[in-house]
Amino acid sequence: MTGAIGWAILIPLGGALLAAAAGERASRWIAALAAAATTCAAIGVAASVARHGPSRHPAGGWLAPLGIELRADGLAATMLLTIAAVAGLVAAHALADRSRAAACARSCPLWLFTWAALDALVVSGDIFNLYVTLELATLAAVGLVADGEGPDAPRAALRYLLFALPGSLLYLLGVALIYGEHGALDPATLGAHVGASAPDTAAMALMTAGLCLKAALFPLHAWPVLAYTRASPVAGALLAGLVGKAAFLVLVRLWLEVYPATFTSAAGPVLGTLAAGAILWGSLHALWQPRLRAVIAYSSVAHTGYLFMWFALGTRDALAGALFVVMSHAAASASMFLATGAIARALGHDRVEGLTGLAHRLPIPFFALALAGTSAMAMPPSSGFVGKWLLVRAAFETGHRLWAAVMLIGGLLAAAYVFRLLRRAFLPRPAGEPIAITRSSGGHAALALALVAIALGLAPGLALDLLRGGSAP
Amino acid sequence: MSLLDLASAALLLAGAAFFLAGTVGLLRFPDVYARLHALTKADNLGLGFTVAGLALEVGDVAVALKLGITWALVLVSSSISCQLVARTAMNAGVRPWRRP
C-alpha cells in the first residue's frame, strides 16, 4: 500500500481547496472529513513502514535523480503520526467550537494547507521540494496568524513572514550552490558526492543558517513569540507545536543524508552552544512572563534548544531523544495553547496574576495544563522525560558534561515556571473578589493532547521501534 | 555591404540619434511637461527608425510585422501614459515652466 503516502498529502490539499470554495457549513464538514481521512492515511503509512520497512514513492513515476521521490521511513512515519495526532485534535477543537463557526470556516482551509505542507515536508526526498513545502507551511501559518482577532494580528503575521522569508531564501541559495556543484537535488545522489569543496561548505553553511533562522534558534528566537502570543489558540497550537519544528526536521534530514562528517563535526559545537543558549534563555524568560501564552511561547523557545542539542551530541540515541522531544513537545505545547485559549476565553484575559484560585472553576483546562506541564518539565513517566533522558544520557556518554548540566538546569527551570502557574491557580481565592467566568468550552481537546503527551511516555518502545523501523536513524 | 544594409544602418543611426536627443531632453528640460514632450516624441520616433532598420535586416515578413506591432503597442501605451502623467501633474498643481 504505497499510495497512502500520496493520500497523506493530496487529501488535506484537496480538502483545503474544497473548503476554500464551499459555504460555511459545508466547509466545516469537508474539513472534518479531510482531517479524518488524512489521519487514516498517516496510519496507513506507519503500518506499512512497521510491517514492510521503508519504501519509496516516485512522484509522477520519475525516479531520482530526475524526479522527486517521496519516502516513507521510520522518521517520516513517526512524524506523520505526530502531525496527525496534534493537527487532528486541534482540528477537532476548532470544529467543535460552534460559537465561532464563521471564523472556523475561514481558517480551516489554512490549517488544512498547513497539515498538507507538513506531511509533504516529512516525506520529501528532494532538497528543492523541501523549500516549497517550507514556504507552503510558512504562508499558511502567516494566514492563520493574520486571521487572529486582535488588533495586533497583521503586525504579528507580517513580522513572522519577514523573518521566515530570509530563512527560506538562505536555504534556497544553498540549494542553488549544491545543484551547481553536483547537478542533483536528491539526498541519495548528493550524499554520495558532497565533500569539503568550497561550494559544498558554503552551501551547507547557508542552508544550516537559514534553517536555524527559520527554526527560531537562539539568538534569533524572538520573532515567533509575538505570533505565538497574538494568534488564536488554534493557530498558536499549530505554529508552536508543529510548524516550529519543520525547519529542524529538514536539518535532521540533511545532517543524516547529505552533509559529510567533516562539516557536521565542525558545526556541531556551534549549534550546541546556540542550543544551550536557547534552553537557558527561554526557560529563564518563561519564569517571569506576565501572560500565560507568553510563558508557553518562551517554553517553546527553550524546547527548540533541546532539539538542536542533538547536533552537538550526534549519537543515534541522542537523535531518538531529540525526535521524542519533537513528538512530546508538539502534543504538550499544542495542549497548553488550547488550554490557555479556553482559560482566556472564560476569563477574558490570560494574565498569570489573575489566575488565583481558579483551578476549581476551570478544572479541565487546568488539568490539561498540569499534565502537559509535567511533560514540559520532563517528569517521569511523561514523554518529555523519555526524550530528555535519552538526550542527557547521550551527553554523559559522549563526555559532554556541560551540555548535560544545561539540560538538567533547563528541566529545573521548567519545573519552576510550570509550578508558578499551577501554584497560583490552586491558591485560595481572595475573599470578596468576584470573578466573572463565562461558560468555557474547548478544554477537552487540550486534555486529549496532554494525555497523548503522557501516553507516549508510558509506552516509548512503540514510537522508538517505529522510528528505527526506517532506514535513517 | 549591400544597399539594404546601408539603408538599415542609416535608419538605426537615425533611431539612436533620436533616442539620444530624447534622453538629453529628459535630463536637461526644466519641468515635467517638457520632459514628457522630449521623451514621448523623440523616443517614439527613435523606436520607429530602429524598428524600420531592423525590419529591413530580418528578411522575414512575419518577423518584420511583429516588429511593427511592437512599435504600435509602444506608441499607444506611451501616448496614454504621457497623458496620465501630465494630467496627474496638472491636478497636483504643477505649473508649466515659463522662461523667467
Partner: protein, 308 residues
Amino acid sequence: MTALDVLLAGALPVLAWRALATDDLHEAVVFFIALGLVAALAWARLDAPDIALVEAAVGAGVTGSLFVTTLRARGLRPPASPAPRRARIALAVLTIASALGIGAALAALPAEPPGLGELVRASLPETGVQHTVTAVLLNVRGYDTLLEMAVLVAAVLAVLARAPSPSARPAARPAAPDDDPARPLIAVLARLLVPGIILVAGYLLWRGAFAPGGAFQAAAVLAGGGILAILAGRRAPDPHARAVRRGLVFGPGAFVLIAAVPLIAGRHVLEYPEGWAKVLIVAVEVALTFSIALTLVLFFPASGEKGT
C-alpha cells in the same frame, strides 16, 4: 561576455541598492520596477526566455503595481528609524564577508558541470511535450508545481483573511472615485489592449507545449489585462462571492484530481497514464491559467479596503 552583459549585471546591484537605500518610498518603488525590467533583459541574455516573460509580467508588472497600490493605500507616513548604528555595522561586515564567501564558492564551481539537462532531454519523448522547461514543470517535477499552486491559494486566502466583506462596504460604490481624471484614458487603453492581451495569453498557453511559454506566463499576461480592465472601471471580482472562490480553486483542484487518480489505480502521485500525458498537461495548463490569473487579480485590494 559583451559590454551589454557587464552593463546589465552591474546595473542590477546598483538598482537594488537605490531601491533599498533611498529615503523616498516612491523612488524606492520606481527603482524596484526598473530593476524588474533590467532583470528581464538579464534573463533573456542568460537564454531563459520563459523566466524573462514571467519576470517582465510579474516581477515588474504585477508586483510593481502591488507596491504602488500599497503605497497609495497607506498614504504618506513619517519615515521609520533604521536599526541602531552598531547593529548596522556588524550586519554590514557579516553580509560582506558572506557575500565574498559565496562569490568564492561560485568561482570554484565546475565550468562543465554535471546537471539534469541531458537526462531531461533524453526523457523528453516520454513527457508528452516538446519544450524542456514545460516538461520539467508539469511532468517530471509536476509535484513541485502542485505544491506551488497550493502556496498561491494559501497566500490569497491569507490576503483575504480579514479583508472587509462586501456587506461592510458602502453600497453601490464604484471601483474608484469618478472624479479620477485618468479614468477615460485608461478606458481607451483597456479597449485597445485587452482583446490583444487575451489573444497573447492564449498564444502563450498554446505555445508552451513546444517552445517558451506556458500556463504561468499566460496567466501573468491575462492578469495584467484584468487589472487594466478594473482600473478602467470594470467591477473587480468580489473575493467573497461563491463563483469567484470556485474559480480560484478550479485550476489547483483539477490538478489535485489528476494527481490523485493514478493513486486509485495503484500507480504513483501525478503519474500520467501512458499516452495521456499531453492531453492531461494541456488540460491542467488551461485550468491553471484561469485560476492563476484570477489569483493575481485578487492580490489587488478590493475597493473597500482602499484608504483604510
